[in-house]
Symmetry: C2
Subunit: 359 residues, 2 copies
């Protein structure tokens, strides 16, 4: 195993689109979402076993979730958990992780991964990750994994591939965030566009330089920490400087601007599990098209529903078609699947009507 | 207060039509169904306070529910709880109660009442009960309370009134059990028919003699206990003889056959609370016709639902019209209101599919 390989797993999200299953105090990445006995986060770590040394894996999260992470990873050293003092989207925290790791190992090659996605083809994933590390080890590149789309999804970012540079690797021509339905259909049919998986590879040196070039307002705040990162003074430095970084995504801050951005087009059985719809899509269905894998359900005259109910509960439903039925703790949600994007609105309404405790 | 007045409250039913709210180990009569702080059974006892002396109130139930009754009525003497060894419908247990009370007080006048009905006009109810006792104290009669129908309900028994005998009292002409919709409509329009409330009044002597005349197979089993009732030998006698009584309702065994049956036509704000539909009907509704009195609910684009959810749970529902949404312990039920009569079937299916523990 190459000792300079690192993995930064982003696990500070609140996952509100999966409410009420995903709750503010225990978002979906910490849940055994598929009933496998491992949380999505644990599965994210399991997937890179043998590729990145355990001590080279970093968790990027916030204070609130540190206890859950310690519980789910009892062997992890406290230094491996990087705690953002506040939420500033992905660019500032990815930058900080790069500065931190660079201080410990200037030759570090970093994989950045989300913690709440699903990868069904683990072997192909491992192969793709190995090839990605090899690619950035020989090329001064910013690399992202691209997923071949199979539906005109409007909730994802799309990558248009440019010149082929060998293997499954190509230069990136354009990035497009969340296209409308018409454009998504064009993207799908063109064959030139791939979904942006949110998995990135780069050397610590490369991403720091890219941030200096394309997100100078972040570099300005974090550069003064050189010499402090990796020392006991780091925590205080971050607490003082991180909050004044702009809140901006790494895609917008760097990926869309840098010239040396490449994509590895992969087929890894990926799902972002971002919505009930994506969970419905990847789940096994019974003859009536109902997904009830996690619970005991008696579905009468009901089709196309996804039923997610905690514990040993029995659900009896009749006359429901294409609904999300989710019951978790003190919240019961029954809404049409086509309204999944409205769940965030409902969460806000519940908050203002009944209080924070239901979030 | 007349010391010869007694009340027998039948509280051994399982209430399966209100599943999952009503459960086999705690049927609806023991639940604080309306969130008033008192169970339906406790309210049934509260209603006759001052009319029947506390020590003259008897609970007719089975072994399983004795602990709940003791808990809800800590001052009640154990002798006031009559435990059927098995279920034999209403006639045998009403007969036993009559024999038992007759042994203690041959002049006893008995009111028989269900434990799971609702009476909204308590003052009128008390007045009706007092008049009923006075009626049977001067007439050797079998008396039932009749409720003026306001919808063509097919789930109830109907009483056709005959000759008026003073006050609100009339002789009974016919009994009709659960008519079809067409007939129920005719009954409603005729003005001659009343719902059978299941509340009866008679002297102990009168009902025992009626049973001897019209249900001799019950009298044959229970008559030999004369001299044993009210003594320590009663329990063993009942355990031996009660199970061989036929399973038959008091309506069918006696009311429909006896010549001296009368009805007091009353307006007491009665609901049998037998179904979700009847609970929906009597409950306050919001502007969208949703009944959500027991829980915090965000109902979006949803009308005519009844939402019954235990505890401090929040329900978010969208696009649901005329549904029953009931969540209790380990069961979640979401079915159209018009299917309320099918709930018993669903209970059976859940039993065979997932086990007895959900009943």
């Amino acid at each position: 195993m190459n000792n300079h390989r690192y993995c930064v797993i982003m696990c500070g999200g609140v996952g509100s689109r999966f409410w009420p299953y995903s709750r503010q105090d225990k978002p979906k990445q910490f849940l055994d979402f598929l009933g496998t006995g491992r949380s999505l986060l644990q599965m994210s770590v399991d997937r890179i076993e043998g590729i990145v040394q355990p001590q080279n894996i970093y968790m990027l999260t916030n204070e609130q979730y540190a206890p859950i992470i310690r519980e789910q990873f009892p062997d992890m050293r406290p230094e491996q958990i990087l705690l953002e003092p506040c939420r500033r989207n992905t660019a500032p925290c990815i930058a900080w992780a790069a500065y931190h790791i660079h201080a410990l190992d200037p030759e570090a090659q970093i994989m950045v991964a989300p913690s709440d996605h699903l990868v069904l083809k683990a072997d192909r994933f491992r192969d793709s990750v190995l090839k990605a590390f090899e690619f950035i080890e020989r090329t001064d590149a910013i690399l992202t994994l691209g997923i071949k789309p199979h539906r005109p999804e409007t909730g994802y970012g799309y990558i248009q591939v440019g010149d082929h540079v060998g293997g499954n690797f190509s230069a990136v021509k354009t990035f497009t965030e969340k296209p409308n339905a018409e454009l998504a259909q064009v993207f799908l049919q063109s064959g030139e566009f791939y979904w942006n998986s949110g998995m990135f590879f780069w050397s610590a040196q490369c991403i720091i330089e890219s941030i200096r070039s394309f997100a100078p307002d972040i570099a300005q705040k974090l550069d003064p920490g050189m010499g402090i990162y990796g020392t006991p003074g780091e925590k205080a430095f971050i607490e003082q400087n991180f909050p004044s970084c702009p809140s901006i995504s790494i895609d917008f801050a760097v990926m869309e601007k840098a010239p040396n951005v490449y994509v590895e087009c992969v087929d890894i059985g990926w799902s972002d599990l971002g919505t009930w719809g994506s969970l419905y899509e990847i789940s096994p269905k019974n003859v009536d098209g109902n997904v009830t894998q996690r619970c005991k359900a008696l579905m009468v005259n009901s089709r196309g529903n996804i039923v997610a109910v905690e514990g040993d509960k029995v659900v009896v439903a009749s006359g429901l078609n294409d609904f999300i039925i989710a019951d978790a703790d003190d919240v019961l949600l029954i809404v049409p699947r086509e309204e999944e994007q409205k769940i965030k609105l409902y969460v806000n309404e519940v908050k203002s009507k009944f209080g924070e405790q239901y979030l």
